[in-house]
Symmetry: C3
Subunit: 372 residues, 3 copies
């Protein structure tokens, strides 16, 4: 099975099948756009309440004031006057966001973290640092990251592995790392003043433990955590089971880290249209590892195909269940299998709609599953 594909952007854009269906309407819209000339500035009135300030999109205020993507439907044609109407401006913004997807941004997320062996111990290194983070094209914010990534690099080991993790703090305040979901000796648990001293600015701290339980876990700051985790000190810690038969069969896997704090509404540190689509070939089974590092629930709704939920917090459920909308609460991880039986570009988003769409178009916690 493959790992997450963090940069499939060009591949996806050039893939024959998925882009064909995906661009059918946007292409249509672009063509239609030439049919209407107009010179007004946007007359859109945006309701502030539905546009979180942290997530204002940056749809380019271009000169292409076309009648974007209105289509004609099967009957009836809207009468248009000489100027662009509010709804045409709105549709144009919605279309512009879709056309940008998946949009290129600077900054990689969750790259596999290399390790070196020292005896039988896998040694990893994490550095807490300030990073200018591009959430969506053009929206850059100071983030606090592990190794410049948000979420931090993926630590992936196998049940029973011995690990040593050196954490260097290059921030202006102390920190500590909690291995959320892993069962570790108390003095490796990462809670300052209870199990260890804080890792002060400029210092390095070493964690060392044997990985006892498999599953989809996380690591994140446990010091001034509302601020530090919000700013980006979080990452996935995935433990493959020693007994592979514990896992259901799947061909590919994806980790989706949900967040709603300092970067706005994000999946894997990016907001739509900079989120990365999940891709699969028809007939493949994919595994999705949901992890909520935010402060709100996110009921994740996949269009087109059901989700078979088989594990919570790294523990297999006694009996898997099916759903199309999975409610993921802060701190929880859920693992699901999707059987990719239906080709197409399937919207995939948080169903708290205000986390996913404003009058400017889709933003935040939206991505797609592309089955080709």
């Amino acid at each position: 099975m493959d790992r997450n594909e963090q940069q499939p952007i060009e591949q996806v854009l050039n893939a024959p099948t998925s882009r064909r269906s995906f661009l059918r309407w946007t292409g249509m819209a672009a063509a239609a756009g030439t049919m209407v000339a107009c010179g007004r500035e946007s007359a859109l009135t945006i309701e502030p309440a539905t546009v979180p300030p942290a997530t204002a999109t940056t749809a380019p205020a271009g000169t292409d004031h076309g009648n974007g993507g209105h289509g004609t439907g099967n009957a009836g044609t809207p009468t248009t006057d000489s100027g662009a109407k509010a709804w045409e401006e709105m549709d144009k913004m919605h279309e512009a966001g879709i056309k940008l997807f998946p949009a290129k941004t600077e900054g990689l997320s969750m790259q596999p973290l290399e390790y070196r062996m020292e005896g039988d111990v896998k040694v990893f290194e994490l550095t807490c640092q300030k990073t200018m983070w591009e959430v969506e094209p053009g929206r850059k914010l100071e983030a606090w990251t592990y190794n410049g990534q948000l979420p931090g690099p993926e630590i992936r080991v196998t049940e029973g592995d011995k690990v040593r993790i050196l954490v260097t703090n290059q921030l202006d305040e102390s920190t500590a790392v909690h291995w959320h979901g892993l069962f570790v000796p108390n003095n490796q648990d990462g809670v300052p003043f209870i199990t260890q001293p804080p890792i002060t600015p400029g210092s390095t701290y070493t964690y060392e433990f044997t990985v006892r339980n498999s599953g989809s876990h996380m690591y994140h700051s446990h010091h001034n955590s509302t601020k530090q985790v919000s700013m980006g000190l979080l990452g996935p810690f995935i433990v493959e089971p020693k007994d592979k038969s514990k896992d259901p069969a799947y061909d590919k896997e994806f980790t989706l880290v949900l967040n709603d704090t300092a970067q706005g509404f994000t999946i894997n540190g990016k907001g739509f249209p900079a989120t990365v689509p999940l891709t699969a070939k028809l007939g493949q089974k994919i595994r999705i590892r949901y992890m909520n590092e935010g402060l709100m629930i996110h009921p994740m709704h996949l269009h087109g195909m059901p989700q078979l939920v088989f594990a919570k917090d790294g523990w297999n459920l006694p009996q898997p269940f099916m759903c199309d909308t999975l409610n993921v609460a802060p701190g929880e991880r859920w693992d699901v299998i999707v059987d990719c039986t239906d080709p197409g570009v399937w919207a995939f988003h948080c169903h708290i709609l205000s986390h996913a769409e404003s009058e400017h178009g889709m933003f935040g916690m939206v991505t797609a599953l592309i089955v080709e």
Copy 2:
């Protein structure tokens, strides 16, 4: 099994058993009301934080300043001075709300949507339109509805049916319809610029697909959805299984669409006291289909009898479980059976109490199960 009863108001008011218990205390209170004379205006201080602006109730500022419903309990009698006290005013407002329940309002919800056959296809028609919607007696708001109903008309078919749905847009902005929970071909999925062009103002768009999966589903706008779904573009899409043995046995069923957006806190588009009670005869089993179309969770608490939860998002659970408070997240649907073993008027409400009661009395997401 019967369908939802959308207008049982008079029936309920006149039903011998249920109203007997229901009115026992309110009648008592009315009688007691004649015993105390008072002339002060209400001295109630309302905490703004606990009274959402959208849900300020409209308890009539009548002239009946009786000592409403204080009752006497089993021991002790509160000393009253010559003027009505703050608590008496408060109790009177609480009682007034209850006495109005179920209050008549204009506007039907979720009426069965008629269809015509064209060959072997069931053809439905939905029109998106602006409607003045009465949420509670006297509180009317502009809503955007399907066919003038909020939630929209109930589409009910059987697994395997072929359907064609004509959607006409009479709004001032484009729209599109997503069949939430149904497995449809990608190009019928209702996501503008990904699977179709938006349905522009004045146009009609046709969806057509075979219904592949049974269960409690929904349809709603997937364009500018935070606004459009909030304004009312949502409805239930119920698919009966071809194999009826898939469902547990029940005598009656009810759909409860939960919402918390432009109309305030509502069940089926109405706030208490305009919500419709569920009614059943002693010994009947009822099925409740919960659907959350809002932006918040709603843990639904039924008094008196437990809920057997047997399906999520249209999928039967591998093993049903029992509860009295079922947390329903946005986009989720849950199906439960209640065995009506205990007669009486049982309160039934969201247990986020601020969605259900203010110092003015009960409002919003409150109804009752009346077992007679």
Copy 3:
């Protein structure tokens, strides 16, 4: 099996094993504190958004401006100038909170409620009253309590018991008691104007019913409930099963009532560091009864050991499941077993981090499981 230990503070402070690990780092920090002299006032800038006003901690503005708990880690030493730095001030505040835990406050919670027998009926008495309630050291607020306790006294009976509960209202407004989760005759259900008159100020009302179902239940006001439950009119109602084999085996039990209203973020009416730790001996199994009496979800994350979830709302699940983070919604109760296999002081908190930690340090919904 033991009951909750509501006042194990001195015991815990003096317990040899648990305090040894718990104080190791705080002692270390105190020693380190003598090495740095400084005279500046705190330069901490607190982000208002992350410090709920109701939960501002009261860390003493002492004169001990030591380099609190910076530790040195395994490598690197932060350069310090002559004055205390912002991060040192912040760490000192974090440490101060931990050192106070478990902090003494006035006011007991959930003491077993005594009863007297009248024939075969257990007679309990509850008085609704105003109480000055100390949430954390020095933060006292007016609360509305049952018998001066918040949560109210624990009512504990056995399935099949006949109970009579006299409720006296010493508040300035009417009230009523709902037995949340218990199946009672309709006229004992506690909903004013539907099943009974309100209990007016100064009066006493009598409830009487046979307890039909076991499990972790609650009692709380059902009149002006958003305000009254928020102010503190709530308590646990625990029903032991007649057939003890219904429960899994456990050595000790704890009830955790979660809240987020008038007292801020609390567990059993107290905010950290005044919360009471759970204590167990190595190898013991503990049962935790979660009850949410607030308006928000609280995903409760226990470090170190998994939770086996076996009951919801008093009903055994058909199959228990494992987790480390259990999402508890308002009105829900969940029962879990923790097998105390790992010694140490394990953080235990709501994983909505803003309910648990600010730049001042941990507060609110934080406690610990101490396994010795």
